[in-house]
């Protein structure tokens, strides 16, 4: 008599590792033959495993499914399942590596954008499922002396995700989830995407970013001090000094730019908290 583990290993092999006779050879003898062939019975379960998985991927990547069509999407899901089966009793994370899978599959052809759009779709998932957080407590911020701002560590909303790609992925995504109508053609050369995703009050929002803003927010997200984040943001010279009245620090035009950016993302509830950097 096989041990429980031996039985389960053989059955799982039959369910997940293809429909070849070889995958079934150890599992079939384990099954009491009373009518329907054991291979058919195992096939019912194998089919269920793949279908569950495919459904999960499909619901996580609706734009990809629409872009490639149902038939090819099922092919992609089958290939992805063979390489990256579910590692959790919760199917939601099953698509975590799907974008990377697509990027590798189409690394050197015209469909490279598919993987990038999939990367955006996965970030949308993360944004929609992240914890809630209220806006930044301005009264608390006002208690900080301006001279201490450099040492603040600002925190982004738990749902905030930064996305950058060499293609206009957001436009592609919107065209493929917004309507059943045939989307207008999108020029892949229309430019790169730099965008911040955040969920506020149940709304998924996309904030287009300059390169400086992207680096600034990335630095904050990495837990760097405000001064370090400003330095990174200003490294591109793109911060717009024309607006913003947040008097973070005096004089320095670079700091003034940072104040405008800070204000924008505080008001947009992207920057939602802060702490003083530990004095080391």
């Amino acid at each position: 008599m096989p041990s429980l583990r031996e039985l389960q290993v053989d059955v799982m092999h039959a369910l997940l590792d293809g429909e070849s006779d070889r995958a079934l050879e150890h599992a079939v003898p384990l099954i009491a033959a009373r009518g329907i062939a054991p291979s058919h019975l195992l096939g019912v379960y194998a089919h269920t495993a793949l279908t569950n998985f495919t459904e999960s991927i499909s619901s996580s990547f609706p734009a990809i499914r629409r872009l490639v069509g149902d038939d090819y999407f099922r092919c992609l899901a089958r290939g992805f399942h063979a390489r990256h089966p579910s590692l959790s009793g919760d199917l939601q994370p099953a698509g975590r590596r799907f974008a990377q899978y697509l990027l590798e599959l189409h690394s050197d052809n015209e469909y490279r954008y598919l993987g990038e759009v999939a990367r955006l779709e996965w970030l949308i998932q993360e944004t929609l499922l992240a914890a809630d957080h209220g806006p930044l407590d301005l009264a608390k911020l006002q208690q900080v002396a301006p001279a201490d701002y450099d040492d603040l560590r600002f925190e982004l909303h738990p749902s905030a995700r930064l996305f950058a790609a060499p293609f206009p992925c957001l436009a592609i995504w919107e065209a493929n989830v917004g309507s059943d109508a045939e989307p207008e053609p999108i020029d892949l050369a229309a430019g790169p995407d730099r965008v911040l995703l955040v969920r506020n009050n149940g709304q998924l929002k996309f904030h287009p970013l300059s390169r400086g803003e992207q680096d600034f927010l990335q630095s904050l997200q990495a837990g760097e001090r405000f001064a370090a984040a400003v330095e990174r943001g200003a490294g591109h010279g793109e911060l717009d000094a024309a607006h913003g009245e947040f008097d973070v620090a005096q004089g320095d035009a670079r700091a003034f730019d940072a104040a405008a950016v800070l204000e924008r993302f505080v008001l947009a509830e992207v920057i939602v908290d802060f702490s003083m950097a530990a004095l080391v």
């Binding site: 008599m1 041990s3 429980l4 583990r5 039985l7 389960q8 290993v9 059955v11 799982m12 369910l15 997940l16 384990l30 099954i31 009491a32 009518g35 329907i36 062939a37 054991p38 058919h40 019975l41 195992l42 019912v44 379960y45 089919h47 269920t48 495993a49 793949l50 279908t51 569950n52 495919t54 459904e55 999960s56 499909s58 619901s59 996580s60 609706p62 099922r74 579910s86 590692l87 009793g89 919760d90 199917l91 939601q92 099953a94 998932q125 929609l128 499922l129 992240a130 914890a131 738990p158 749902s159 919107e174 989830v177 917004g178 149940g202 709304q203 929002k205 996309f206 904030h207 924008r264």
Partner: protein, 359 residues
């Protein structure tokens, strides 16, 4: 700056779609092959919601309490709205908004635990609001209690968090396995009914109960195959697991019917073997069938009305087990809420009939 807002509700079905797929995909896949026409309502909701560009979807009787042997430290029963005797229905994401806007006269809801694992978002918010108005049961599909792998404490912790958050009156899982060596089939696979499996799954259920600080109910699954090494019938295995682990039993009468038909035994024999004191909940659902070389295999699709034979079994169960909280489960081709409520009303009528007979 123009922010392009998209209602997150429209896509929040994504989350639960993933989860409900465990059950719906399981069944729909078998029924319809790889065709997508049988996507769960949750997923259809994702699609249609996104398409419209708007927000679319997004007994406890004394006996029960007395049998909560492991206690519920830090979680007073008063915080948990008790589940009454009227039949409840399975909560699916496509009905969230209707439930919240219409407050339909549903006795209680049962939700799939894994659908609400997220830290935030439309689904967990909806369940919290529904929970504030209705008694709730949480029903897990992913703990893989029968697996020979170590107990997945990460998953268990998420269940614990959901229990803290939603304070369900009942908490249940399945007498099955779905993973080995860390790989998951995300389906409810039958166990071999051996002494080793009995000891193993009983120990793990006890571990889960200790971790969660409360008793759980364990449900019998439908099965399409039996293992040659099984040494006892499923009812004996289930009864022994309940005795050894201290868990309660969630008896799915449709699963008993499907399994009985597939393996050629009398469903009533199953009922007669179950200790009435252990049964804390009953599930009713529909099934479908497939043909293999002229032989019929019943498939647990949970996508059709409860069949007459299962209603007859329900009557027998009521006479044997007394009035037990009953749930209408529907996981694929999810119909309008009113259809589910009509099935629940049918169950309530059967309960009244059985009472009259018993009296």
């Amino acid at each position: 700056m123009t922010d392009r807002g998209v209602r997150s509700d429209a896509r929040s079905g994504v989350r639960s779609g993933a989860r409900s797929g465990v059950r719906s995909g399981a069944r729909s896949g078998v029924r319809s092959g790889a065709r997508s026409g049988v996507r769960s309502g949750v997923r259809s909701g994702v699609r249609s919601g996104a398409s419209s560009g708007a927000c679319s979807d997004p007994r406890n009787d004394a006996r029960n309490d007395a049998r909560v042997e492991r206690g519920e430290p830090g979680s007073p029963m008063s915080a948990m709205a008790p589940i009454g005797l009227r039949a409840g229905i399975g909560l699916r994401a496509r009905h969230h908004l209707q439930v919240l806007s219409d407050s339909p006269a549903v006795a209680w809801f049962e939700a799939h635990t894994e659908n609400y694992f997220a830290d935030g978002g439309a689904h967990v918010e909806a369940l919290a609001r529904i929970r504030a108005r209705y008694p709730l049961s949480l029903h897990g599909v992913g703990l893989s209690l029968g697996s020979a792998d170590p107990l997945n404490t990460l998953h268990l912790e998420r269940v614990r968090r959901a229990v803290q958050r939603f304070e369900p009156a009942l908490l249940s899982e399945h007498l099955s396995w779905s993973s080995i060596d860390g790989r998951f089939a995300n389906d409810l696979l039958p166990l071999p009914y051996t002494d080793e499996a009995l000891r193993h799954v009983s120990t793990r259920i006890a571990q889960a109960q200790d971790y969660l600080g409360r008793r759980i109910l364990i449900e019998n699954v439908s099965s399409y195959l039996q293992f040659d090494c099984s040494r006892m019938p499923e009812w004996e295995f289930l009864t022994s697991v309940a005795q050894e682990s201290g868990c309660g039993i969630l008896l799915d009468l449709n699963n008993i019917y499907v399994t009985a038909r597939n393996h050629g035994f009398e469903a009533l024999r199953y009922l007669d073997a179950i200790d009435p004191r252990a049964v804390q909940e009953i599930h009713l659902a529909g099934h479908s069938s497939m043909e293999f070389e002229g032989r019929t295999l019943l498939i647990d699709t949970h996508g059709t009305p409860v069949c007459d034979a299962v209603w007859d079994l329900y009557r027998a169960a009521l006479l044997r087990f007394g009035d037990v909280p009953t749930l209408i489960e529907w996981d694929t081709d999810i119909p309008a809420l009113e259809v589910l409520m009509a099935e629940a009303a049918k169950a309530d009528a059967r309960r009244a009939d059985a009472h009259a007979v018993a009296a």
